[in-house]
């Protein structure tokens, strides 16, 4: 029963992933794509969690944590890039 539920939710997640990828490809502006990428990251967290339940292992919990951090850092970096055109500012010149 649980397995069936997990498979169904995996399919749902995949479908939503496809939708996000569509937005990523199509997305008229760059921020659209960045948001899609961020959502893909979070989606990936969910997918990995369900897959590790399916595989009956706790080896991938690190991956989930890392994924969360990376999605966050990546989105922040993108946001800063779009905002200022630079990710790491060189303050020494000021």
């Amino acid at each position: 029963m649980l397995e069936l539920v997990m498979k169904i939710s995996l399919i749902c997640l995949t479908l939503s992933m496809l939708g996000l990828v569509y937005r990523l490809i199509k997305g008229p502006t760059v921020p659209d794509r960045v948001v899609a990428l961020d959502a893909i990251g979070i989606n990936l967290v969910a997918i990995i969690a369900i897959i590790s339940m399916l595989l009956n292992t706790n080896a991938f919990l690190d991956v989930i944590l890392l994924m969360g951090i990376l999605a966050f850092i990546g989105t922040v970096a993108f946001a800063k890039f779009l905002e200022k055109g630079e990710i790491i500012e060189n303050d020494r010149n000021q």
Binding site: L24, I25, R33, V34, L37, I51, F60, V63, L66, I73
Partner: protein, 804 residues
């Protein structure tokens, strides 16, 4: 290391000392120190005459590279001692001559004598080596030292041109010869010439025989300036005259003759040898003498005359090979050709050496060698004139000089061919005496030109830079000695007969000489009234007639357009070779990485497809495949969609993000294929590299930031498709061909047992196979340092500032 080896190496040892003599004894001409050595060597080699007289030989050996069967075997027989005497004897005379010819003050004598001694040692090595490899080594040393000597006045354009030309041609021949030697050593399984000769009857039928023959002959023909390789010799006349006298008349150009003579016992059984050596020789004789007449430079005439005389000797050696093919050995008249070849070899060395020295004297005392400017020197230089007269008349074949005798024997050898009925000779045989006779007529004409155009006629002081006068006595002694030899050998030829000629001829055709026996050598002045005598008389008559009427018919030389000579062919071959290879390189080295990638990928897919196809290697087995889950399919769709996005994306930013999506999907694959460590690393690395891509993207220059789609190129599409298909096919085939079980079972069993870890991937990385990890760390360290260096180290910018 015997005394004989020491004798061969002594010029090299002496060459080391020359610069010290030159610097240490400024007041004494360096040549005096050098002079001792060839004289000593000459006396030393004279000691071998009693041994070689009886067709015996001396052999000394020491190992050089024994594991490869290469030893330096010095071997003195009749042929070797003849050449060694020529080299050391004429070497002494040339050194003596050069002492007076070259100025102590103006010339860099240490260079000259070092090169000359190198050459002398190399030449001795060539003629006294029994081992093919050492022979080749010394052979190339003669090429190199000759190159150095020709370009002795290296600030002259013509000298450098001549040196380069002779280098290219003789080294080409030398390398071919080395190829021939290697074939010989494969055929006979030895490098020793004597052992090869011993098994010569088996070698004839070997499939490599003809190849070895042609390659060896290429070496001999280039070195001995045979048609069509003679073209380097006239240009080598830019060398100082002692060099021309020594190298380009008496010794180096006879190295090819020596080679042909030395290897005759191996090759002469083949009819190709007879045709090539004899035919090329006789044509060279004709061609060289024909072209000598149109020269206006005395050394040019002598160069072409050397070519022609070498052709004469070569043709005699070729005809001498016929002696091996006739059965009636008791009275084998064909051995006469070989004897004549040896005799003319000695004669040519004597008269040509003296003629070159005469030309050097004329040049030295008048400042020109152009026969159009010279004339009437008889009253100024009577001694030089006498020597020139003796040399030229001997070259023309007039009695009572030695050239007459060898010319008679030459005609005899050629006429005998008419009686020979082997090799389908037939009517072709008539060409030999006819060409020989015409060549002799031309020889007569140019010999007369040398004497009479220089020493008689009208004296033209206004054309000369200096007032001519007789040369110093030291300069006259060497040509006088040679001229004296010309007369002595002419009047008493039989003093040479059994001391030098017979042993040398016996060494050339050893199979005809039984042990303890000797060839019959008789050189007589008077043969009786026969065909050869009339031929000689005809040469004199027609030659004299043509010489007198030279002005009337020398227009025929203008019939040939200047553009169809072999020199033009050589020059344009060099030019087009250079231009062609430059164009070829330019045509494929475009400087664009995309072109090179096309080559790499086309080759890659082509060679793999060919291998797969020709080996019939494709195999597909489905029994060991795992079942496919739903999420694998979903991920594959995802990754394909991302990849297509990369390809068709209009903006670079989209492409970068799609690449990121591919990376993350790959990490998802790692997750479902149960590789948590890989997934972790992949996620982090992908994030970092996407960030780096964005960094690059941001710094693109404004001008080239065209936001446009990658243009479609059919060729690229085909190549990328073929690469993809090939790799896929190979992956499928290799998966279907698993021959052995993987060794991973060992790791599974021992990760905890032996290495005290539960994470197998990490244990493999740091424990079982830690070395790889160490160097991966190195790679990262180098990359980091490299990036730091590239960012911080801006040498060019600093230089640009300095320039401002």
């Amino acid at each position: 290391m015997s005394l004989l080896h020491l004798a061969i190496f002594s010029p090299f040892l002496m060459a080391i000392l020359i610069p010290f003599f030159y610097k240490g004894f400024k007041s004494i001409h360096t040549g005096w120190f050098v002079l001792l050595l060839p004289i000593l060597l000459f006396i030393y080699f004279l000691k071998f005459l009693p041994v070689t007289r009886n067709n015996e030989f001396v052999q000394e050996s020491f190992d050089w590279i024994p594991s490869l069967g290469i030893s330096f075997t010095a071997y003195v027989d009749g042929l070797g001692v003849l050449f060694a005497l020529l080299i050391s004897g004429i070497g002494s005379l040339v050194v003596l001559y050069s002492i007076f010819y070259l100025s102590k003050v103006k010339e860099s004598l240490h260079n000259f004598y070092v090169y000359l001694l190198m050459f002398m040692g190399a030449m001795l090595g060539v003629v006294l080596s029994d081992n093919l490899v050492t022979l080749y080594m010394f052979w190339e040393l003669t090429s190199i030292s000759s190159f150095l000597l020709i370009a002795y006045w290296y600030d002259r354009e013509r000298s450098r041109y001549g040196a380069l030309k002779s280098m290219i041609i003789t080294v080409f021949g030398g390398l071919s010869m080395f190829g021939g030697f290697l074939l010989l050593s494969i055929m006979g399984d030895t490098f020793s010439i004597r052992e090869l000769i011993a098994q010569s009857d088996q070698l004839v039928d070997h499939p490599l025989f003809i190849g070895a023959l042609i390659l060896v002959l290429l070496g001999a023909f280039t070195k001995s300036a045979q048609f069509p390789f003679y073209i380097w010799l006239p240009d080598a006349m830019e060398a100082p005259t002692p060099v021309s006298a020594y190298l380009h008349s008496a010794t180096m150009v006879k190295a090819g003759i020596y080679l042909v003579a030395r290897l005759s016992p191996i090759f002469a059984f083949s009819s190709s040898w007879f045709w090539l050596v004899g035919g090329v020789g006789i044509f060279t004789l004709f061609w060289g003498s024909f072209n000598a007449i149109k020269q206006t430079d005395l050394k040019g005439i002598l160069a072409f005359s050397t070519v022609s005389q070498l052709g004469l000797i070569m043709s005699l050696l070729g005809v001498g090979a016929a002696a091996l093919h006739v059965d009636f050995l008791d009275d084998n008249i064909y051995t006469l050709a070989t004897i004549a070849a040896v005799f003319h070899l000695i004669n040519h060395a004597t008269f040509k050496g003296s003629l070159f020295m005469v030309v050097g004297i004329v040049d030295h005392e008048t400042g020109t060698r152009d026969i159009r400017k010279l004339g009437g020197l008889l009253s100024f230089m009577p001694v030089t004139f006498t020597i020139a007269l003796i040399g030229s008349f001997s070259m023309a074949g007039l009695p009572p000089f030695n050239g007459f005798l060898s010319k008679e024997m030459f005609f005899t050898g050629m006429v005998q061919l008419l009686e020979l009925d082997i090799f389908n000779l037939g009517t072709w045989a008539i060409l030999f005496p006819v060409l020989a006779w015409i060549g002799s007529v031309f020889t007569f004409i140019y010999s007369m030109m040398i004497v009479f155009k220089t020493f008689t006629g009208k004296f033209q002081p206004e054309k000369l830079e200096v007032t001519p006068h007789e040369a110093p006595v030291g300069m006259l002694i060497p040509p006088m000695i040679l001229a004296a030899l010309v007369i002595v050998f002419g009047l008493f030829p039989n003093i040479l007969a059994y001391s030098l000629i017979q042993p040398a001829a016996a060494a050339i055709i050893p199979s005809l000489v039984e042990t303890g026996e000797k060839l019959h050598v008789h050189i007589s002045f008077w043969h009786g009234i026969n065909l050869e005598l009339f031929m000689t008389l005809g040469v004199f008559a027609l030659g004299a007639l043509l010489y007198v009427t030279l002005n009337k018919w020398d227009k025929i030389y203008r019939l040939f357009p200047g553009k169809v000579t072999l020199n033009v062919l050589y020059d344009s071959a060099l030019y087009w070779g250079e231009k062609g290879s430059s164009n070829l390189t330019k045509s494929y080295m475009t400087g664009f990485i995309r072109t090179y990638l096309v080559y790499i990928f086309v080759f890659f897919s082509g060679i793999l497809a060919f291998t797969m196809f020709s080996k019939d290697a494709f195999k597909m087995e489905t029994s060991n495949l795992a079942s496919i889950g739903l999420y694998e399919i979903a991920l594959v769709v995802l990754i394909i969609a991302s990849i297509i996005t990369i390809l068709v994306a209009k903006s670079r930013l989209t492409a970068i993000i799609a690449l990121g999506a591919v990376g993350y999907t790959v990490s998802l694959f790692f997750v479902i294929f149960r590789a948590p460590d890989l997934a972790l690393t992949q996620l982090v690395i992908e994030t970092v590299s996407v960030a780096l891509f964005l960094l690059c993207f941001y710094h693109l220059p404004k001008l080239s930031r065209h936001e446009e789609r990658m243009s479609f190129k059919l060729g690229n599409a085909v190549i990328s498709l073929s690469v993809g298909i090939i790799v896929t096919l190979i992956a499928i085939a290799s998966h279907s061909n698993k021959l052995f079980d993987p060794i991973s079972q060992y790791y599974i069993e021992n990760t905890y047992e032996k290495a005290a870890g539960k994470n197998m991937v990490n244990v493999i990385l740091v424990d079982f196979r830690g070395f790889d990890t160490l160097f991966e760390i190195c790679v990262l360290g180098i990359a980091a340092l490299g990036i730091f260096g590239m960012i911080k180290l801006r040498l060019e910018r600093g230089r640009a500032n300095e320039n401002k």
